[in-house]
């Protein structure tokens, strides 16, 4: 199974470490510049979306298939604990003080965890199912159950899915994989 793991210090593609100099969200930008580089919308994203974007790009590069063909049979299904907490806190800071009240639509739009699933769908022309599920704790059993359930969609034959959690710019974890449904 193809797999990418990222935390603020470590990047692993199929269990092999990927070299980098930076840590935290600066590392995500370093990875973007080194391995992606053609998608300036990256710089507008919140940390959760940056994390999901970089992890999915590394995963899809490792998959090695033709990219950007429109399709409806690949779902994007993520799980986490903190939903969009980093973006929520950033938005809250813009409305906390009445004397310095500057709510921003660009910040508000990221206060939903499923925005990252949309970012990945846009990048890859995935018209299939996109879904974000929040759990109290990371739980392999529940994630396996829900991913299995996702194949009940009549068109879904593969899922780009996994754990994608971000509390702030220096605390995040992604473990994404691609699973295929055989015999469909």
């Amino acid at each position: 199974m193809l797999k990418v793991y990222i935390n603020p210090d470590t990047v692993m593609v199929n269990d092999k470490p990927l070299a980098h100099n930076e840590k935290g969200s600066a590392m995500l930008t370093e990875l973007y510049r080194a391995y992606i580089g053609d998608y300036p919308k990256f710089f507008k994203m919140d940390t959760l979306s940056k994390l999901g974007f970089v992890a999915s790009e590394l995963l899809l590069q490792a998959e090695g298939k033709v990219r950007f063909e429109p399709c409806e049979n690949r779902a994007v299904v993520f799980f986490n604990r903190a939903a969009s907490l980093q973006a929520d806190a950033a938005y809250q800071a813009t409305i906390q003080h009445p004397e310095n009240f500057f709510p921003s639509p660009a910040a508000f739009v990221y206060t939903l965890p499923n925005i990252v699933t949309g970012e990945i769908a846009i990048r890859n022309k995935y018209f299939g199912e996109t879904s974000f599920l929040v759990l109290e704790h990371c739980d392999e059993h529940i994630m396996a159950r829900e991913l299995q359930n996702a194949f009940l969609d009549p068109m879904t034959t593969s899922i780009l899915g996994g754990w994608l959690d971000c509390t702030d710019e220096n605390h995040f974890e992604a473990e994404l994989f691609i699973i295929e449904e055989s015999n469909k």
Partner: protein
Amino acid sequence: MIVKVSDNIISPLGMTTAENYAAVKAGRSELKRYDGLWKLPEPFVASLMDRKKVEGAFAALAGNAQYTFFEKMIILSAKKALENTNIDPASDRVLFILSTTKGNVFLLDERETGFPKERVFLGVAARQMTNFFNNPNAPLVVSNACISGVCAQIEAMRNLENGCFDYVVVVGCDVQSAFIVSGFQSFKALSVEPCRPFDKDRSGLNLGDAAATIIYMRKESVNTDDWVACRGAIRNDANHISGPSRTGEGSYRALKVALDDTNPNEIAFINTHGTATLYNDEMESIAIERAGLAQVPVNGLKGYYGHTMGAAGILETLLSMQAVDDHNILATKGFETLGVTHSLQLSNQNKPTEKQAFIKLLSGFGGCNAALLFKKGGSLC
């Protein structure tokens, strides 16, 4: 087949599904203008709960327990839905699914000190509900923006179809706060008057408080008055994170899967998202036309409740079921003159129907769209 066992709606229009349906059928709404509420600099129109009423109902149920307003709403709605059943919520064969976008987000405000900050985590908030019912399973929280309420029902259907559980209790809720209202204001998405879905003069949405619960089970033989959740789909526009597709792409694709080979003549109505923003309503008209459903009656319920976010998909499903039971297509409150490109069968009057099926449609930020086909009796599924 997946069949509805029980339900509840708690909203400014009532504390039961029946009260809510009667109010909507009579054309009532609690959308009101609020000036200076939560110290927001601009006024807004919203449908807000009388919080004292909820506090009172909750105290009668569970005494002085320490729950946030959001948690009281979800517990109260689930409790009322469970009351009329013989389901043991403490059983490990029962799963709770919570549909919400912002849960206890008000706790991020540094002035809020009454509750542990960890309750801002949606899974921790959902756990307050499962603990209340002594349910041993980890609750699942669906947080897919405005389509969460239909996604949560699809998750429930799948868990039952795969035999993972015997019953799934799906609770949808969002409660309004400075966070949400100011965010939508910054987007210029809010109307300064009660919203007007699909109307030529529509100018944006209103927000609303609500909690709604639907309980599902799997059943081999379906009775003629059972409500069956037939087929649903979630599809992405792959176009923009905050603007709907100009071709209604994801909504059209979701509709196509939900319809499958259903004859459009069997469908009483399509209950749309119908937020009354310029772009959403236009996009839905395109998707409905593309799906070959332009002749099917269409309605939208945001003129009664505003946009209730995580509750919307469940609340609007339940009112649509009640309407079909009552041989009625509910009026689209606020609509007068068609203001979308494609001709839709809309009315601001209740209309009779003898048909037994409907489609619930939703769209949201992140480019996500969902459609779910419901049929009474299920013989058509």
